[in-house]
């Protein structure tokens, strides 16, 4: 087999609750530290202990971030899933198993090389404690892989030192387990494998981080002070991150007092209520949640839309309907969020594609929410939110100042005759608001019941419509304010992809594959809703548009049909909704097949 350096996939099959996450993280980090682009996807069960879990590491010289669909090296640590894991290995690949126990000889493949390493035996001889034995078995396969793949041992040692800081005993224990695996393989196996790692310099200036962490960090930089939430996978780690960063950066040195307030609410109804109360009172407030939480929040979302209270919601989407598959990814909440709540409602959505955009869009979301005085949804998903991605470090503009939107100050109120909450003074559909406790003249009554432009209660048709029509104008204003789409296009190409969010990596890889096959396809990635003018123009300029998204019902396509003038015959869906992050293969075949059919017709 020819040597294939820096371009392969390692998949580790394990049982959850055995501490494999830290071993897998160590392995991935080591590759990253060698300067080689790498991405990890964690496929874990909605369970605490004892169910199968997989971790997939893609090493990609080219820097592709989607799944490749291949498995070149399988580390089969879970007897329960052994048969399936073996079947998953791509032809010519390797399967590493624990040879302490005899293997079912029925299970073999001619096109897969089996590598047996007596992991349990090696570890049990050196570690007494039961829990340590379980943990160290995982660390031990990292050592074995280090030898097989040519991982720099100094990098591993350095990582252990950083991870365990001053806990010398832990460093020594982990290092011992690493060396057990490493030395065994060096002695008994041919190494390195033809699949191996060669140091590069492609990760300088990059970090490995998940989207929830970056979104939480974004909230801190945006100046959010109130966070309310109710725990739900896969959004929980966003609030964990916010809390951690606040503890680091928002605690008064002198008094120990907090410049933030996090409320763990009794449910999502209360979480969104807390956000609205805080925002109504002038704080930047947010809630992270997932689909089931958004479903519960619906009544309040309509209230916020109609009373024009800014709010930032992070919907870290997971597989629905209902409880669905809580630890799998999907983009299934697009329609739910675009029109959440009863009556004529429409909302602003942002679609980050990776953790870097989670950071930036968190800040954008607060600016837009306050500028437009309306709820803004950051539509992340489990893949972006919980998996570690390689992103260039984000930078902060020191000149940034939050856009608080149109708020009358005490002085302005002091100098005016009368204040009305819902008059469109500037013609953009956006009115001026006031905060409680600032000035008596700013007082008004916020109500979800029918109100006129002065904020008074109404049941009058004309007065009601007057406000509703202005809200529509305001939403049109939002088209110019949401992040513009990212477009990759060549003149004269008439076929295109429109996609969004975490499909980006797979789409970009598919474009390269198609280009190599001689098919040029243009690409637009939507980053905001309502759609900006560029989306409309892009659709108009192409004859055939493949809409790639991760849900069954073609929700992005539905939105494009509803909210642009595109001819529906132009749009062809490519859908992926099984819960695993999308990869390029379905996109490539979907487009190739359609084009072939078109050519034949």
């Amino acid at each position: 087999m020819p040597s294939r350096s820096n371009d392969f996939v390692i998949k580790i099959a394990n049982v959850n609750g055995t501490g494999s996450a830290s071993a897998n993280g160590l392995l991935m980090k080591a590759i990253f530290r060698m300067g080689i682009p790498v991405v990890g996807k964690n496929f874990f069960p909605s369970n605490i202990q004892g169910l199968p879990t997989w971790f997939e590491i893609r090493v990609s010289r080219e820097g592709y971030v989607a799944r490749s669909g291949r498995v070149d090296i399988m580390v089969a640590m879970n007897a329960q899933t052994y048969a399936r894991d073996l079947a998953d290995v791509s032809a010519g690949g390797y399967l590493i198993y624990d040879s302490t126990w005899s293997r079912d000889k029925q299970l073999a493949r001619d096109d897969v090389t089996l590598i047996g390493i007596p992991l349990a035996q090696l570890v049990n001889a050196q570690f007494e404690n039961v829990r340590a034995r379980i943990l160290m078995k995982n660390v031990c396969y990292v050592g074995a892989l280090a030898a097989l793949l040519d991982i720099d041992m100094d990098v591993i040692k350095q990582l252990l030192k950083e991870t365990f800081a001053d806990k010398e005993k832990l460093i020594a224990g982990n290092l011992k387990a690493i060396e057990l695996g490493y030395n065994y393989v060096k002695e008994y196996c041919d190494c390195p494998l033809p699949l191996r790692l060669e140091p590069m310099h492609a990760t300088d200036g990059y970090i490995m981080v998940d989207g929830n962490t970056m979104a939480g960090l974004g909230c801190v930089f945006a100046g959010a002070t109130v966070g309310a939430w109710y725990p739900i996978t896969p959004s929980t780690s966003l609030m964990d991150a916010f809390k951690e960063f606040c503890e680091r950066y928002r605690v008064d040195r002198g008094t120990g007092k907090h410049r933030y307030c996090i409320v763990q609410a009794e449910d999502e109804l209360a979480a969104i209520g807390i956000v609205l109360g805080a925002a109504w009172n002038g704080a930047r407030a947010f809630t992270p949640t997932s689909g089931p939480g958004i479903s519960l929040m619906n009544e309040f979302i309509g209230f916020a839309y109609y009373t024009e209270i800014p709010a930032v919601l992070f919907d870290v989407q997971r597989v629905g309907p209902s409880t669905g598959m809580p630890t799998r990814t999907q983009q299934g909440d697009l329609l739910l969020c675009a029109y959440a709540s009863h009556g004529d409602t429409r909302h602003v959505l942002l679609f980050p594609a990776d953790p870097a955009e989670c950071f930036h869009f968190a800040v954008t979301a607060f600016d837009l929410a306050e500028r437009l005085q309306t709820p803004v949804f950051v539509m992340s998903d489990l893949d972006i939110g919980m998996n570690d991605w390689m992103i260039p470090k984000v930078h902060w503009d020191p000149k940034y100042a939050p856009d608080r939107g149109k708020v009358y100050s005490k002085e302005q109120l002091e100098n005016m005759q009368i204040f009305h909450r819902y008059t469109d003074n500037d013609g953009d559909g956006i009115c001026y608001r006031t905060f409680p406790g600032v000035h008596a003249r700013g007082a008004y009554f916020t109500r979800g019941s029918g109100h006129n432009r002065h904020g008074g209660y109404t049941e009058d048709a004309a007065d009601y419509q007057d406000v509703l029509d202005r809200l529509r104008r305001k939403h049109d204003t939002a088209k110019q304010l949401v992040p513009t789409p990212v477009i990759r296009s060549k003149k004269g190409v008439k076929t295109a992809i429109v996609s969004l969010g975490s499909c980006d990596g797979a789409v970009r890889e598919a474009l390269d594959v198609l280009a190599r096959e001689g098919t040029e396809v243009n690409y637009l990635r939507v980053r905001g809703f309502p759609f900006s003018q560029q989306v409309e123009e892009f659709l108009a300029h192409h004859e055939q548009v493949f809409v790639v998204e991760q849900n069954r019902d073609a929700q992005l396509k539905s939105l494009l049909l509803l909210e642009t003038t595109v001819d529906r015959n132009k749009l062809i869906s490519i859908l992926h909704y099984g819960g695993m992050p999308i990869d390029s293969r379905g996109i490539v075949s979907g487009i190739s097949d359609a084009l072939a059919k078109g050519a034949a017709a």
Binding site: Y249, K257, A270, E299, H395, A443, S449
Partner: protein, 351 residues
């Protein structure tokens, strides 16, 4: 109708409070409730209490859910910001508002349907948080606004106007607040302004969640014979257990009361509530005793009223979360943004 303005005439002869304001400065728009509705009397008591306390109206944030009772915040303090939340969810709005600015006065008005039926969860949790606010339940045993269905506070055996008899045991907000750790638990009656006004004042000044259940008859749907939430029934079984006299800070207190009977409780800001116990064996600072007293008297059908329990030392939400004393919403951005060096430092942890 709320768009009707009350005539603004000069009231030079009306008494003025320390801020030089008359009681009219604390009013809101005209009530649209039924004539004789208990809720309107509570509104009047709220106006009186804020006036007597000389609180700047614009330093108050008033809020409510949905219901006839929840309409009342428009009828007082027109110079204060107000917010009508959705049905049963005012406690979460109050929590967020208070999180943003801990230095305003918060008053929430709710109904028995709003707090004990649809909103029971939020009611209990805001109480658990000991949010610093006055929370009034205008309790009439029915859903007024949807025309007279039983609410969760309807008593067993109470008859609806159309003859239906309630069979399910009531949820009593006082018992609930007492058993769930409430720091200020009181009950009163819309028809007893003398008792109600000082309770409202004490509730406003209490540092924590002041739960005030006020029996407030619905003249249209629940004031008939055989209703246990009627004016007549309430008057007949009314049992004041503790009178509360509210005294603003630094005024002499002890002299006016007989020793043993009077019990001064100092509030956070230095003002005092003097509790005058009707019955010598009642102790409003002992949760268990308060509970058994209530239980005993309620068994006899008596409606126990007054400031039934108070614990001024219980920590409110911000004390527990250790928030800065300024309003979070007023903090300068420079105090909130960690800056570029911090961003670099944090990101290096993900190398």
């Amino acid at each position: 109708m709320s768009f009707m303005q009350k005539p603004k005439v000069s009231h030079s002869q009306l008494p003025r409070n320390e801020l030089g304001l008359t009681v009219r400065d604390y009013e809101g728009s005209m009530s649209t409730l039924c004539a004789g509705c208990g809720h309107d009397s509570i509104t009047a008591a709220v106006i009186q209490a804020f006036w007597e306390l000389s609180i700047e109206p614009y330093k108050v944030a008033k809020m409510s859910g949905i219901g006839c009772s929840s309409k009342t915040p428009t009828y007082f303090l027109s110079q204060a910001h107000g917010i009508n939340a959705v049905h049963g969810r005012m406690p979460s709005i109050a929590t967020g508002a208070n999180a943003a600015d801990r230095n305003l006065y918060y008053v929430g008005i709710s109904g028995d349907g709003d707090s004990l039926s649809i909103g029971l969860g939020q009611f209990i949790h805001v109480l658990r948080r000991n949010l610093n606010m006055l929370y009034i339940i205008e309790n009439n045993g029915v859903y007024g606004l949807t025309k007279g269905q039983f609410s969760a506070s309807a008593d067993v055996g109470s008859k609806a106007k159309k003859g239906e008899v309630n069979q399910q045991p009531p949820i009593d907000p006082v018992i609930a607040a007492l058993t769930l750790g409430g720091s200020f638990v009181a009950r009163s009656f819309s028809g007893d302004k003398a008792q109600l006004v000082p309770l409202i004042k004490a509730g406003i000044m209490h540092n924590g969640f002041a739960m005030l259940d006020v029996l407030s008859p619905c003249v249209t749907f629940n004031d008939h014979e055989d209703s246990t939430k009627s004016y007549a029934h309430t008057r007949q079984f009314y049992h004041p257990a503790v009178h509360a006299d509210f005294v603003l800070s630094k005024k002499p207190i002890r002299t006016a009361y007989d020793d043993g009977e009077a019990m001064p409780v100092e509030l956070h800001d230095g003002s005092t509530v003097v509790l005058r116990k009707v019955s010598k064996d009642y102790n409003p600072t002992n949760r268990a005793q308060a509970y058994s007293y209530l239980h005993e008297h309620q068994k006899r059908g008596e409606i126990v009223t007054g400031l039934l329990y108070i614990d001024e030392d219980q920590r409110e939400m911000h004390d527990i979360s250790n928030t800065v004393s300024e309003a979070l919403r007023d903090l300068a951005y420079a105090e909130l943004c960690p800056g570029n060096a911090a961003l670099e430092e944090t990101q290096n942890l993900y190398r």
